[in-house]
Each structure stands twice: as structure tokens, then as C-alpha cells.
Symmetry: C2
Subunit: 406 residues, 2 copies
């Protein structure tokens, strides 16, 4: 049984493809189920019989963005306080004789996965539980990087280069503020520096790892505008002041999602307006929004391959008897770039956030240093894209037929 | 002498490449100048000697987005009221013996081109003036379509398909409002229907050709949300109510640019907030912003080829003695799609806007009919992109050395 959870990426379906294609190879796995909307589909006994899907469509998942089975943001309770969901999961697992469970997501999903694994072990139900990593935010603990990040980084770098060409065409200067996802980690926003090191990217980069000071920001912009006549600024959606208050909160009350993360957005508009008012310059705000996490037409081939492999390795290791681990990446740079697989205990990964290390940040807190480039460049190599027909990408189209009730 | 004007596109540099490469072939053209920031560079005697540029870099222009020479929005006065600029242009032309003048832009730029052409003729100065079309808006009169439009359409269709996969992953529904450029014409927004006809695009499409009624919009969204559980809406930045008031004006005072066009934007946010308040649903607003006009990594090969050819044909025709025309496209569908070149008098093209014809709009004014697909699909064929090195696109890098003063 396999489920997808959390915010989608360009390559989360590549991991699904790896899980399914590997699972079909093993005799010990007699049926392959895909959960509709992650753990929600498990609780609702709402899942798909993957063997009924056309194998060609499953193969197309490699280059199909987003979560083909549907995703969910659902927080399981602490089992010591409320074990209702866990009892239900055990009931469904017993009913369908589920002995291998794979869950694909970020740190919240690894929390779900870890809790389920621990509960099943405690209940004495034999089931191999494996986490498959996924997040554009690249903030999972213990892994060199996360599937999904590299494609988002490649998209951001490419788009920043293109925007750099566009945003400076007129004889009058402009301040362009770009807003990048990534929650409380600056990995995504740092990736815009790839374009900067090509001489075609942001002049200033602000990440959540550095407390944001509005006055300092305005002084930075003013200085660059004076020197270069045009300014491109990249900011994380999660930048906040020294007191921890999000800049997005400066102009709006934030809705809360069910994980108690603030739903971020509007930071670029706020800062662009501020520049207009305080500096009297022409401004433009651009949010990359969903585009940065679903641009499968411009994915990294390395990322697609690694995402697929993460799924396949999860199955291989489970079949070999492993349980309670997340598949993780270890970088080997002896002969160029190579990505090895390692296993991390789920409990170690759950709910932790990996931030940008200090050596990637400049002293002034407004740009990214070269060592980040050494880290990120091997990950964005190779141009992956779906097959094209009649001028358009061909994405997987699953039937998503419900599995027969037992 | 060649200049670029107005808002950039993914392929305006392909036209520049066509102009330059063709110009280098003709003995009657002894020097090739590229204006910095269009007519502004002409008035300021600020232009580049293109023969000093590396021919490989000129060739890379084919797949480099935006206006490599810089653009401008500068409206020439009526020469009967104020001929200062015209006298200056004539002076510069005489000084550098400019006998061929090519101007690449949209309807405003064709106005500039037309006025210059008429003034030179009246002054008895022999100069062949040719307009090269360009605009993502596709709103130039008399031509089947405009270079730049098809690549923007292809980008929008692809991105809408990707967003369609992303925007419906959760078990709770969302209303996603996409905002598309195009000023007062709906060609760009209509292109999102390409994705809809693939079953992976907007459910509702609103263009400026139909008066927008907020109440009708909310009823439309409510109906689709009830039927499908998720709604994607595409709106033009230029939608306006029956009185001609832009929806963007509903929430903001609009700045005016120097052509007295309102600077549009913020429509998607306004409508998404409205849906949230009035229908109580989760919403997201996405502006494609500059991305839709500079995504050279995802351009249409047909568009790149046609843009190049438009530039080359302008030079060929000028060398053959033609003047006062804009190069235009005529569609031949006898044996599949073929694009022929025709010449239109500049004065006929200037300042006119071509809107979406009625047969492309549905009766309800909230979707696009199949005949538009027959029109647009041949234009988005072929995947053009720049060469890639080290995981990134390689764009032209011009030296832009000023031509020697005379």
C-alpha cells in the first residue's frame, strides 16, 4: 500500500512510479494499492488497485507533476491520547492483509509514517513501513537533499534568468521582487543564486535563516538601484523579523492550516509596494506560486531518476525485511557526483527541519555564497520532460478504479 | 538600423536575429546598427555596431528571451503639432546615412514606425522603413497572428495543464484564479483553453471581449464548484464591466503608463478574495506575470521560425525597394499549416486592436469554443529551447559596444 502526502512536487509521481514498478516485480507482493489522498484514503478505505492501471500510464508518471493519487494534510493524533485512527488503520491493514506500507511526503508525512510504524509494532502486527522523502523545501533532516527540490531549483534558476532578461529592458529602472516557497528554510530561494552566478539573476536574496529587517532591506535596494539602475530581489515566503513575525503578517492576518503552519504569501507584493512608497521607484512583484513545484516540463533529470530510485529502493528494502526507515540520500563526490541510498529511522526524521547552513550565507545576510553552488549544481543536471504530442506534454492519466472491497 | 520596442516576448530576439543575419548578406547594407531602447536610442544617438558582435552570439538570439537591445515605451508627438523628434531623427539618419530602418513592436510601435516613415517621405529623404510585428497580445490588425503569441500560448497551455494537476490534489476543493496578460484582447487567455480541451485546464475563461459581471462570475464558480469540487478560472488582466471599468480598478487605483493604457494587475487576487468571502471556499490567485512572455525554455518552434523569418523578410523586401509596410502573416491551410508573408501599409496597422472574433466565444461568455483550437494549435507545434550547458540554458550575451560617433 502506497500513499502520497503533503504539498506536491514535479517528481513525487516519479517516486510513485518507482514504488509501483518495483512492487510488481516481487512475488511476496500480491496486490498493489494506491491510497486516495494519503492517510485519508486509508481511514476511508478508499484506494485504487494499481494492477488495473495500464503499465504505460504508470510509466508516464515519471514525468507527470503533482500527486496522481491525491494528497492530504492530515495530522494523526498522539496515539496515547486518541488511538481511534490507529485502530482503524490496523483494522484496514488486517482486512486487506497489508504487509508493506510506503508513505511519500515531507517532515509532517514522516511523522504520520513514524507513528503508524510504532503503533503497528506495538500492536504486534507485522508490517514493513518505509518513508519515501519528498519536498521542494529540501528541509528533511539527515538526507543530503530531497526529491523534488532539484527540479524546483532548476525551474527557479531558469525562470530567474529569463526574468532577468525581461525585467531590465526599459530605459527606466525597476525593482522586481520575486517570492519563492520553502516555508522556514531558504533552500528554494537560495537556488535563485544559480542564476545570479550566471550574471542573470537576483541582486539580493533574503532567506528565513536570517532575521529580516525592513530598514536594512530598503537601504540594500536603494544602494543596488543607485549602482546598477535595476534591482531584482528574491525573498522567501517565510522571511520574518527578529521577533519571529513573518513579513507576510505585516500586511495580512494569516490563515492557519491544519499543521499550524502559517499559510504564507503576499510578501513580495508587500515589499514591492514598500519600495515604491519609500524609494519612489517602479516595482513589480512576482510570486512563483504553484508553478515552481509543478513545472515537470522543465525538471532535472537527476531529480527524476533519484525520485524514482527512492521509491524503488523503499520497496527493495522492505521486501528484504527492513521497516521503520525513511530512504535517504548520501552524496559521494569521489568521482564526480554520485547519490547513494541510506536508511534513516523514521522517528529521527519526523518533524525536524533542516535549514541552510551558515557557510552558504553571506555576512550581510542578503546573498548566497559560492559553496551553495557546489552543493546544488550537480542536482540540476539534465533536462527531463514528458513526451510531447501535438505541441503539448503527455501526462499520465490513471483510471483510479477503486479496489474491490473485502 | 534596427530597434526593438514595447513589451518583450520570448521570440522578439529571433526577429532581431533574422534582421541582422539577413542584413549581413546584402552589399547595399554597409553597416548594421542596433538601437539601444528603440526610438530613444535614435534620439540619443545611442546605438550598437552589430558587426562587432560575435556571430555565434547573434545566432543565440534565436532562443534568448526579451529585447537584447533594450526596449522603450515612447510616444512620438503628432508631427503637425511638434516635429522636434522627427527633425532629430532625420538629422541622425543623414549623419549615419541610414537608408534602411526596421522597427520591431506592437501596435504602438507600428504607430511610431508609420509616423517616421511618413515624415521621411515628406522630407524627401530616401529611406526604406519596415515594421516587424511582435506581441504576445496577438492584437495586431491584418495579420493572421503575431510573433510572440504562440510561444506565450504554448507556455500558458503547458503551465495550465501542470497547475491543473497540482491544484486539485487535496480532498478539499479549491478555487484557483489565473491571471493572464493580453491588455484588451483575449487571445492569450483563450489559449488556456488548449489545456481545457485536454481535460487539464480552466473550467471557466473570461476575456475582455465580453463584459464581466461579478454576480454572474460568482454564480458560475458556485455552479462548477458544486458539480466538480474544484474550479480553475482563467481571467484576462483586461476584463471590465459593462461600463468599461476594469475589474482591477475595483480594488485599486490604476497607474497610467505613457501610452495612457492603464497598467493592469491584481484582478486574480481581487476575484479570489471575492470567492473566499462570498462562497466561503479555499482560493488561490496566480499571476503568470513576466513568466508568460519570457519563457524561452518552453517556446514554440513554429513561432521561433516565423519570428526569425519576419525579420529576414523585412530586410529582403526593403532591399528590393519596399517601404512603409509591416511584414504580416497569411495562413495557408491547403496542405496542413503554412505561413505566407504579406505586406501591410504601416498606416493601416497603427493603433488598431484585433479582438477575439465572436465565433471563438461561447454563448454564456465564460468559455472558448472549438474553432479557436483549430486556429491556435498549428501555431504551438514544436518544442524550441536554447542550448543547455551545465543544466542551464545558454542565452546570447551581446557586447553592446556603442557605434563610433560620426
Amino acid at each position: 500500500m502506497f500513499g502520497q502526502s503533503g504539498g506536491p512536487t514535479s517528481v513525487i509521481n516519479a517516486s510513485a512510479c518507482g514504488v509501483f514498478e518495483e512492487a510488481f516485480k516481487h512475488d511476496c507482493i500480491t496486490e498493489v494499492y494506491g491510497l486516495r489522498h494519503g492517510v485519508r484514503g486509508l481511514l476511508d478505505e478508499n484506494f485504487v488497485d494499481m494492477s488495473k492501471e495500464d503499465r504505460k500510464q504508470i510509466s508516464l508518471l515519471k514525468n507527470t507533476p503533482s500527486s496522481a493519487l491525491g494528497s492530504v494534510r492530515y495530522k494523526l493524533a498522539d496515539p496515547d491520547k486518541d488511538d481511534t485512527d490507529y485502530k482503524r488503520i490496523l483494522e484496514v491493514f488486517k482486512k486487506y492483509n497489508v504487509r508493506y506500507f510506503f508513505y511519500n511526503g515531507g517532515n509532517d508525512s514522516m511523522d504520520t509514517c513514524s507513528k503508524v510504524s510504532a503503533y503497528l509494532a506495538k500492536a504486534g502486527y507485522e508490517c514493513h513501513v518505509m518513508g519515501v522523502p519528498k519536498t521542494i523545501d529540501n528541509d528533511l533532516w539527515g538526507t543530503d537533499h530531497c526529491p523534488g527540490f532539484a527540479s524546483a531549483a532548476k525551474y527557479l534558476a531558469t525562470s530567474c534568468m529569463e526574468i532577468h532578461h525581461d525585467a531590465r529592458v526599459y530605459d527606466k529602472g525597476t525593482v522586481t521582487v520575486l517570492e519563492v516557497m520553502g516555508r522556514n528554510a531558504g533552500w528554494m530561494t537560495a537556488s535563485t543564486a544559480i542564476a545570479s552566478y550566471q550574471g542573470q539573476g537576483p541582486d539580493l536574496i533574503y532567506v528565513p535563516e536570517v532575521a529580516f529587517d525592513v530598514k536594512k532591506f530598503l537601504a540594500d535596494v536603494k544602494k543596488i538601484y543607485k549602482e546598477r539602475g535595476n534591482v531584482i530581489v528574491a525573498v522567501s515566503e517565510g522571511i520574518h523579523d527578529a521577533n519571529g513575525k513573518y513579513i507576510a503578517e505585516y500586511s495580512q492576518d494569516l490563515a492557519k492550516d491544519s499543521f499550524n503552519h502559517a499559510q504564507l504569501g503576499g510578501t513580495a507584493s508587500y515589499l514591492a509596494n514598500l519600495c515604491k512608497e519609500e524609494l519612489g521607484v517602479k516595482t513589480r512583484a512576482i510570486e512563483f506560486s504553484l508553478l515552481q513545484r509543478c513545472a515537470a516540463h522543465s525538471a532535472s533529470q537527476i531529480d527524476v531518476d533519484e525520485a524514482y530510485n527512492a521509491g524503488a529502493q523503499a520497496v527493495k528494502n522492505a521486501v528484504e525485511g527492513k521497516s521503520g526507515f525513511m530512504v535517504a540520500f548520501e552524496r559521494n563526490t569521489d568521482n564526480g557526483y554520485k547519490c547513494n541510498i541510506k536508511l534513516l529511522p523514521l522517528a529521527d526524521v519526523a518533524n525536524k527541519e533542516k535549514k541552510l547552513p551558515k557557510e552558504f550565507l553571506n555576512k550581510d545576510g542578503n546573498f548566497i555564497e559560492k559553496p551553495f553552488l557546489d552543493y546544488v549544481m550537480p542536482l540540476i543536471q539534465g533536462e527531463a520532460k514528458p513526451p510531447y504530442e501535438n505541441g503539448l506534454p503527455v501526462f499520465a492519466h490513471l483510471k483510479l478504479e477503486n479496489a474491490a472491497n473485502k
